[in-house]
Symmetry: C2
Subunit: 204 residues, 2 copies
Amino acid sequence: MYLICLDLEGVLTPEIWEAVAIAFGIDKLKLTTRDIPDYDVLMKQRLKILRNNNITLKDIQEIIADIDLLPGALDFLEWLRSNTQVIIATGSFIEFIQPLAKKLNYPLIFCHNLEIDKTGMIINYSLRLKDMKKKTVRALKKLKYNVIAVGDSYNDIRMLKEADFGILFRPPANVQKEFPQFPVVTEYSELKNHISNHIKLKSL
Amino acid sequence: MYLICLDLEGVLTPEIWEAVAIAFGIDKLKLTTRDIPDYDVLMKQRLKILRNNNITLKDIQEIIADIDLLPGALDFLEWLRSNTQVIIATGSFIEFIQPLAKKLNYPLIFCHNLEIDKTGMIINYSLRLKDMKKKTVRALKKLKYNVIAVGDSYNDIRMLKEADFGILFRPPANVQKEFPQFPVVTEYSELKNHISNHIKLKSL
């Protein structure tokens, strides 16, 4: 039996921090692990910028509620869920992604969470589990699933490697070049074909 | 972070084999593990009855497509999915439950599968994993989830025991009596309250 693990940002939705950065006009919030490889340093910088600009969780949630899914993402996900089982594994936080989960008709989402103070400021972030995406795939394999994983960037690579079959969706050029073992697809129709061919439509 | 594991039959839908038995007027298909405790003996008997009566998978799927969800089940599940993460763990088979999955708006479902021959007859069943419900809860706990499990009968008890918090929903009297450690609820509104109180609505 098959189970598909999908990254969220870049695969089904735009990058959340980028949208937040644009909405508040703060360029430094656009930085990602591509610019600051140490995630903890990056997140602490993001939270400091929010504090310095007096931006609360609620302010950010209002921005996120306005983010549209990537064009075609919902159709793709609905197709996938009606044909097999799907888990979304994202490095983002439950407090951020609730409005996007609603737009996606509430698939199962594995993520992390934030610490909020009484004034609504984000004071810290809490990873439910380190290396969560990879560990999720490993746990699913132990539960006797064949796992297909789909991601777009560096933080998905360990998940893609752990999966029985890994696919890069619209990766940046350097990721594509560095990990030539993964097929690269840029359209949902291609992604459907890759997954259908792999599952051989047996359980569809 | 919390994750809720729900049994399917008896919790969200009627018992599938019972509906099939009634539709075909074959009383022996009504027997469950309450009557024949050895699941393999029970399933082999069921499959033999189907063969002897020339009943194909497609015939059964048509019956199952007509099964209504339990009244209130969909509202309860939608509430739950919009407030936390949910996995349905069922001893049933993907070939049976697809129409019910659709009525439930495609939650994640962990289940088993059937072997079908070229004439559409069910020739065998295949358990993805023995003791799957319990092992699912254990895997989720290792992924750092607090797990609340909800079931109605004997085949859920090991899942309920493994979970951080187990709840019996409309159990038969003997199950309720034998496992007094689990709270018993009979209405979705009570189930909502139990879950809300346990999660303390922190992540809601």
